[in-house]
Symmetry: D2
Subunit: 419 residues, 4 copies
């Protein structure tokens, strides 16, 4: 069993090692191939991971390479966690929209849009390498914006893809912690898109939770008081990322006031992390790394690989093509929804009807996402412009034109598909 | 044949008489019953209409009454053009949203939302009177926002309803004028909702128009250069009301700067109009009236009544329940779409797939509209709040709460359903 | 204006001339081009038609040709009424199934299946000629089985096609005659496929007919007492062709007992007709021709051409691709349903839900029809076998194999697509 | 944990004990309550089961009762295996249709139809008792025809119901045995209805089986050579019960020739079985019982209860409401399809499109099933008549009338809903 990690220089890599060590019985890995285009970060990470794996008792060969085909060749799972243009590019995604009066965030709105345009061409190269070098492998994606990226993968390639986000299972953990039950006994319907989902119909071992229990779960979500109000009205818990929609006006103000963008904070943090990683004294995760986040992803990735490798029927939440699941979305629209995972694939489960206030919002964002995936592959600027114009966080043609022009200029080195 | 006009004090009434006179052969009307709750305006209008009918050679009995049941009793068509709270209320619909930083307009956004909440209870009373006094009659609605109002009528009553807007046929007139053809030889697919529609696939006698001809049609639309650009990209002509979406940011600034709101302009104008109407010297439409607009409505209303009364198969554009027409909208969602009209009813026609960039926007507004219709009937404040929050011109929970509170306070006399 | 008639040697041609003469104002035809592959019949028909046209006061040039491209070149309408293999082939379609214990009939069951396999290759040649010689022309098809033939046309060509059958409007005539009203004031919903339709929701000028009136209409249908019983239970009138389903067992016995098959009767009759036609003394339809039937077709064809040529919105019943009209049938499935016809095309109208007992039967026959159209084009024998096996009048694999083998042997000269 | 068995006098009961003993760790049952209306059979079975449980090492209290409410009170699972009218009634279901020239079989065609009409009223009584006495319990149904019975349960009650049939998993066992793999590593898509399903897209640990492997699986199915041919053409394995459709004509002949109907064979066998069961010397299943069949049911029932009780995500095949799974079937239509089972319920999994030749057949039978369930509940004879007329194994109104009259007369004591 071989695992490839593309973008292995990412600070998410150690968390993944940690989970693989926890599950070493279920996932009998022989070889982990670390690949990145940044040799310095790659080598720092590889040497740390060797120390860390030993420390964790994870007996596995670890190789590092700049050659993607080599990393992917013969792999069972290809974990993808790339960041095209790095956090330097992310700065533009966050700042330019804010300067124009719109939400600037790396996964949603104009920022997520531009990240998708940069990332999809690289993802399609990875998919092509998988088709050639490991056609039976699963691409495990947690590169953002995972919903749009997996839309492009499903529409334009034939490979198997599990597009994951910790957000899908978050409310199993919240419910477990709020009610003192086992997270694996919690299930629900979940409707929507990545970073735009709504959890409803929560059950513990098949029993609906009470209103009081629902409130206790809400208290674990970290949502604002207002979003909790909405959750109670809708009988559904919105993803925390919906703060960019429901507190749109306030968030723009708050983000504008922040001294540093999230990209800048991360850039500083990563400097610190890589200093620490290079230090041969560290055999465990340095404190700097803990500030970075990301363990949710590793847990979801490990759970998915375990279900597939062992053909163990497992409930989960994954971004998959809609099929007939939601009648108001296109057949090929990728949605984030409850699924059953095993060696046979990832299949959407029938659901109860979603909350009545949000099918329109989800449709509008999905329409934007599908146009964005298409524009990212075809390089058609008009399609990109129509996508951005119709994002509910933009909803303005004049602004979309300016945003598109500025973002394209800022990222022109990473947008070869737009001549 | 009897026609009732509810809200007959409206300055739209004379235009309707004009059209009825034009079509006196096809519509052999014996009695027109004018009803309003404002006795002063009603009588001014009734006396003018008697003079005007005579002038036009329209030989028909004209009665005026404050009693709605009497007006409706035995009618074949009940034309409804009411304005609950009058233009005084409209001032709030336009101003309060603007003060909070949002589009303030009488049919769309927060303004249209509040107009729907005020209007629907009165419309349901009219529908109830029809059920009792003229169960076979057609309600011809052009009270705004006609899409939401007809949603409520179709969901909560059994009466026959033709919810019209001149916007539906506007592009037949534009095409005719641009290309020098007969408007009745122009047809197209039209997708969307009232004041949120997109005209595509324009044909003249079954032949697709060329790109050059499309551009000529665009020149007749009065759309901004930017919206024309969009039309060319989408191969579809957006309703002029989409300026509130596509020029959202700019329009907010422009509207804020205007010395008078549209309501205030109309209030002034109506004073002038009613002065003129009272003048027995006027047997024709005074110039003041021509500034008010509205002839499109009368033309569409007359065309619809003619098709129904004479059972003449007639292509048109009407707001009707979706059925299966658009697979991504609910079965009962009222849509503005191409139809065939005759005595047997108004039936949606199969269409080509709509422009690929806008099904999401239309879904989001439709979701809002259905929640608004429900809130208007049930008086459920949470439903109203969810509706407003998810309107793409609001898309903010914090703002929706404030807007709802302020608008409800301003209009509290007209919102009995919200205790 | 030019009309081509392909298969003009058919005894349906004179009736068409009769209707064209009636509508000479609405259809200002300059040239009618008669084409057939049987020179003897063609010339007999052409000379009769010249005399008949003169008699009818139809001033139009009439040409006859063996060259299909010439006939079609520049035509506005191409009427197609061919019979591949003639009534000699039809004998096999009727007899072989009966010998095996199944319904043998030229449009339904195993007989209609085989007629479709023979006819579709020729129809596609006609369509190809239209694409080349008259790309804007409408193919007016009343060649049977019109539902399967138009399925192939819509799935495999780009031409405009109106697939007609008098059966669609039959109940307007029945209702008119039963209730003493004008047929054009009668409309209804009609659900199903050609020769497998159900008329329901009959209205006269928009008013539902009463139970008593429904019974009077039934009395005009010529249906058996048992099928009238069913009609009353279902509140829907089945096509007379449903006798082959609802009286299946009895019909097999009756057909077996008949001395001559319908093909044989028609062969005799046609001999007589063509003798008469050759007689220069006849300037009117000979009595022999009246026995042949077919005037319904001519009426529907004329009505359709009139609506298209004059761009006159006209309600009708035509075989058209389903689109979203019936949610339980595929998007591209051709259905016989109510439509609006004009120069812009033929568009399905939204309908009320069909009778609850028959959506399954229609689905099963439609599944068979789509497989048959596919087999006819691809020449895939397995697909043909699956089609025939799953026809509800066969519903037996063993029998389908034998039927297919015998029918293919009998018609092998006309099945070039099956090598 | 308590299990109720309604109809415990059935010869299926011992097999269920056997499976419960195998799974005693996973299913820690305290009490099994045996209920029947036939005291003699009940006591014979109860005393045998006590001996057999002891022999199997299954330590559980076993009670027997004639009181259904008592048996159900507090149960976790209510297994239902009743036979209204017993095998004496079944004789009529098998013989009367054959006498009229149609398939006579207890689950399909006219026989299954009549069994459904008799059984559904009793099933609704059981459901009502569950609602009162054990509202959280699952009804585990394997009473035939399970598809129609569960249609009635889902349409007319609120209880949780798992409607099972061994046929759903049969091809996992066939594949396992043919290819030497573990049955739990086999999965597939399965489309259709109970006893009318098609298995396709078979995979072993996610890998599609080859053509050669498919043929090996076919060899294990026991299907006729002709049905294997069809399976190869359709790339899908039909249920063995489809022999009544695909060999319809031949089966009628074969069944007519049989000296004894299946009911008569079973009646003889049951005499023997109950003699054996009463013999206190037997602590194991007597040989007579092995001839009866039924172990597949017990395995599927045990697997389902295990998945629910332990909240263990488990792939299976169950009859569940369609929801959106198959776009061409109604939302509430019960279908037999692949599902995920756990404590949270039984949810249909998204599937690949079903074999292209059979969606029509399945639709037609489903239409019949839904009408039959409705007729069984409402007692509307016309609905029953329409159901039977439109069954593809009948497809004849004249015959349906006679069949309905004869079957109703034969079973009149068991059809209180038809006055």
């Amino acid at each position: 069993m071989k695992i490839a990690i593309i973008g292995a220089g990412s600070s998410y890599t150690p968390e993944l090692f940690e989970k693989l060590a926890e599950k070493k019985e279920e996932l009998p890995i022989k070889l982990i191939s670390l690949m990145d285009i940044d040799e310095v970060r790659l080598e720092a990470m590889a040497s740390f991971c060797r120390r860390y794996a030993e420390h964790l008792g994870l007996k596995v060969k670890i190789e590092s390479t700049l050659n993607m085909d080599k990393a992917i060749y013969g792999a069972d799972f290809v974990n993808v966690q790339i960041r095209v243009g790095g956090n330097e590019s992310r700065k533009h995604d966050e700042k330019i929209p804010l300067e124009e009066g719109f939400i600037g965030q790396e996964t949603t709105g104009a920022g997520g849009f531009m990240k998708a345009l940069r990332t999809i061409p690289e993802i399609l190269k990875i998919a092509a390498s998988i088709e050639k070098n490991a056609p039976e492998a699963w691409l495990i994606n947690y590169t953002n914006p995972t919903g749009i990226i997996s839309q492009a993968i499903h529409d334009y390639t034939k490979i198997k893809c599990a597009a994951l986000c910790a957000g899908g299972l978050r409310n199993t953990w919240n419910t477990a912690s709020a009610l003192g039950v086992d997270a694996r006994d919690v299930q629900y319907d979940i409707f929507g898109l990545n970073h735009l989902n709504f959890t409803y119909n929560i059950k513990v071992r098949g029993k609906n939770i009470s209103k009081e229990e629902f409130n206790k779960v809400l208290d674990k979500t970290g949502l604002s008081p207002e979003m909790k109000e909405m959750a109670i009205i809708m009988k559904a818990i919105p993803s925390a990322y919906l703060q960019y929609y429901y507190h749109r006006v306030k968030k723009i103000k708050v983000l504008k006031k922040e001294a540093k963008s999230r990209a800048e904070v991360v850039l500083d943090l990563e400097k610190e992390i890589f200093e620490d990683l290079k230090n041969p004294a560290f055999v465990e995760k340095p404190d700097s790394l803990k500030k970075r986040g990301g363990d949710g992803y590793a847990e979801v990735a490990a759970l998915t690989m375990e279900a597939i490798h062992n053909n163990r029927d497992t409930w989960g939440v994954v971004n998959v093509p809609n099929g007939n699941t939601y009648s108001f979305l296109p057949y090929n629209a990728v949605v984030e929804t409850a699924v059953m995972i095993n060696a046979h694939g990832i299949k959407a489960l029938a659901t109860e009807p979603p909350p009545k206030a949000v099918w329109g919002l989800v449709s509008m964002v999905k329409n934007y996402e599908m146009l964005t995936a298409e524009a990212a592959v075809t390089g058609d600027r008009d399609t990109a412009l129509m996508a951005l114009t119709h994002h509910p966080l933009v909803m303005d043609y004049d602004a979309a034109k300016i945003l598109l022009a500025r973002l394209m200029e800022a990222h022109k080195d990473y947008l070869p598909q737009f001549k």
